[in-house]
Amino acid sequence: MPEKTVQNLDEVTIRFAGDSGDGMQLTGTQFTNTTAILGNDLSTLPDYPAEIRAPAGTLFGVSGFQIHFGSTEINTPGDQCDVLVAMNAAALKVNLGSLIDGGTIIANTEGFNDKNLKLAGYTSNPLTDGSLDKYRLYAVDITKLTALALQDMNLSSKLVDRSKNFFALGMMYWMYNRPMEPTIEWIKNKFANKPEIKEANLRVLKAGWNYGETTEIFSVRYEVGPAKLPPGRYRNITGNQALAWGLMAAAKKAKLDLFLGSYPITPASDVLHELSLYKNFSVKTFQAEDEIAGITSALGASFGGALGVTTTSGPGVALKTEAIGLAVMVELPLVICNIQRGGPSTGLPTKTEQADLLQALYGRNGEAPVPVIAAATPADCFDAAFEASRIALKYMTPVFCLSDGYLGNGSEPWLIPDFNELPDISPKFRTEKEGFFPYLRDDKTLSRPWAIPGTPGLEHRIGGLEKQHITGNVNYEPQNHDFMVRLRAEKVERIANDIPLAQVEGDASGDVLVVGWGGTYGAIKSAVTRHRQRGNSVSHLHLRWLNPMPKNVGEILYKFKHVVVPELNLGQLIKVLRAKFLVPAVGLNKVQGLPFKAIEIENKIDEILKGK
């Protein structure tokens, strides 16, 4: 057996890339779960085409999965990758630009045959023409080695081909010294009823590992030790799963049934799928005929005393707009989750963007204020969904919970919360007949009573027409309308009394404050940390509640010479900050369907610091 050296690394970024039919998302997810169990901190970025099975070998059919993991704190999926696993020529072509100079390429030689080279637009084979000399190139005939491992099984060539991602996975497990057991268990469960496929995948996975162990070509193995995370029990979780669980936790803590009215849409469908699993939690999921029925059924359920939720992405929100206005008017609790994607219109269904902020804040007819909260990381989707539910129930209002494709599909290790420590958020249904008026408000929160059908003596009617203060009767008087519009605005404003003050990461005053919201948290944090390590006066403010904002936001902004607002849109939060606080903030905007790289933000801060 050849001598292998072991090298220690603090962190590493690997990108798995291949055809959308090559199972790269699965390979990436398996690698991620195993890595999480080893105690590394990590962050992932699945990046796949909108087409389910784009033509094989084409550039637009390339599907990628990037994982950044380490023994240090990891905030982003990595600006560039250290290792690129390319299953074919197109995958190499599309992803080579994100590989660091001197990085490692593991290429499946069979994926570089004449046909593949042509489809990818190569005139000569990059594996042999010397064009990859600056990288460490490992050309492995994964397809053939997979076939060899399965040769006595008499499988169709299609089945054999489908297993080859496990060879790549096995090799990477060997190279980064990860155990195969979690994936072995997973394969055994997943294919319990398909013994042939189970056997094939297990064999190929092990063959990949053994290849690493025995072949001459790999001389180094890498060791990435566990990260120093706060103590406790952890699990790896994606944003969409965390969101679903956050909603379930909220319903339990509210002692209500959870009702989800939803319509399939990328990248939000996984929340519907996830919640559909938990019927034993009394979760009722309803795949409606369209987006509008999704939200209106949820509102109907809320009227009946359920925690009504609808989940969607931007185009779906556009369709739900009128119903959100109705929810504002009838003042019933409702949680609207928008897993944002690239827009406008159908846009980039599988890519991320945060261009729906203004839609959430203002996208309705009339003065229709809606509280808006945004999750910052995949695991944070749990807390954001819980918090959105709490506010919806307490203030009898629809609440927007914003996530995005990057958070929804991305994952990270999560310190599992103690469910019993989560607050009781159960509402108080009105039952006393005496003095009941449907729009007689609570003095403090201004929320109206929730009197559910079935309660004797409290029969009342609600609807989208303007209400008379207190009685809730239909009323068109000018003064009443003016009063009610202001009252609804005031109710939402008062939520500011109920949310934590904003916390600056870094110094409370200084040269540059980077203000972000939503899924840019990790990239901003990395950029700011690097600047602080360089001795620069840079701080980070990440807004969780976008409406209302914490009471101290203005105060914080004024303490910095410069305010930079990086957003994956053309400047939406910045408009609000400028209008609200009259600060000369500077934007950093990118709309490529991809998250920020930390370096992009780091450079922008440099630019500002130089100009000061």
Binding site: R233, R235, W245, F286, A288, S297, I416, P453
Partner: protein, 350 residues
């Protein structure tokens, strides 16, 4: 663990066994339809029937969309939800799934229910939630002041169609049947007895009941149904469908409908050629027949069918949903959040 909803419903005092009257169902709101509007009759008949339906009013919810008909919930002293245009059926679906214990009613119109809300309509019907739908068909948009509707006859001159409408009208009963509805009926605003009977039957039906009510809009489409509702023409223009009975009509009860192949045709019972025994006998349980009957609707020379086209049983959506939940609980145990959070691959950092 029981939910808060279950707790407060359990704690609620029992409904009094005193029989309710129509008056108990009248709310304190002024009714604001145009004087003479057919909606008044529908409201009155509904309030009259409700005591017989036998459900306490606090367990009843009326849900509507937008349009003249959709003001209905404000006038019923029950729970009510005046929604947005076309969406009452979807709001009602969510409520019924969340609260199968409630008696849920949808009040809609030809524009609200068949145009902007057409999609939700066909889907609620195929799902078969136990909800009652009253569709007021006046063949016009009243609240927006007189544009043609999806049930307006072709060539209708209105403000939006000064040269006549080009659209062929929906036949609501056929649409409902085509959506696999389990209860489909048609009744008339100016036939209180028939309407009361029909509404009561709709209430009793387990599953989605679709009741089309011909309703006169005396302001924008006056007399649209007079041929079918007025004394001098009604008997010869309408055939009432009664379960188990032959289709006889006419002032003198001297005409009937027989099937010629699959086509209904009018025959005289006077000329000795045909007798009652030759006539088509109605059967509410026969889906094939229901399509033939509904299809008579716009046929020239054929009387307008009114009554219950179909009343069949099929599993009810919310009950099946509850069954799945019960099954999941039996199989996997009552959901435990602590267990779920800690399930699968986890690891401990010391």
């Amino acid at each position: 663990m029981s939910t808060l909803v279950e707790e407060i419903l359990k704690a609620a005092p029992p409904a009094s066994d005193q029989k309710m009257t129509a008056k108990d169902f009248q709310s304190d709101q002024d009714v604001r339809w145009c004087p003479g509007c057919g909606d008044y009759s529908i409201l009155a008949q509904t309030q009259r029937v409700m005591p017989d339906v036998g459900i306490p009013r606090h367990q009843m919810v009326f849900i509507s969309g937008i349009g003249c008909s959709s003001r209905f919930p404000y006038y019923m002293n029950t729970y009510g939800f005046h929604g947005i245009h076309g969406r009452a059926t979807a709001i009602a679906s969510g409520l019924k799934m969340a609260r199968p214990d409630l008696s849920v009613w949808v009040v809609t119109g030809d524009g609200d229910g068949l145009s902007i809300g057409g999609n939700h309509m066909i889907h609620i019907l195929r799902r078969n939630l136990d909800i009652n739908i009253l569709l007021f068909n006046n063949q016009i948009y009243g609240l927006t002041k007189g544009q043609y509707s999806p049930t307006s006859e072709k060539g209708k001159i209105t403000k939006s169609t000064p040269y006549g409408s080009l659209d062929y009208p929906f036949n609501p009963a056929a649409l409902a049947l085509g959506s696999s509805a389990t209860f489909v009926a048609r009744t008339l605003d100016r036939d209180p007895k028939h309407m009361q009977y029909t509404i009561k039957r709709a209430a009793e039906h387990k599953g989605t009941s679709f009741v089309e009510i011909y309703q006169n809009c005396n302001v924008f489409n006056d007399g649209a149904f007079f041929q079918f509702t007025e004394k001098d023409t009604k008997d010869d223009s309408v055939v009432f469908l009664e379960h188990g009975k032959p289709l006889v009509f006419g002032k003198e009860k001297d005409k009937g409908i027989r099937l010629n192949g699959f086509s209904p045709e009018v025959v005289s019972l006077k000329d000795g050629k045909w007798s009652v025994n030759d006539l088509l006998v109605h059967n509410e349980k026969d889906t094939t027949l229901s399509f033939i009957l509904a299809d008579m609707t716009y046929k020239p020379g054929i009387p307008r069918p009114v009554g219950i086209f179909l009343a069949i049983d099929r599993p009810v959506y919310e009950e099946e949903m509850a069954r799945q939940i019960a099954f999941a609980k039996e199989k996997r145990g009552e959901g435990d959040m602590v267990k779920l959070l800690n399930s699968g691959d986890t690891w401990v950092v010391q």
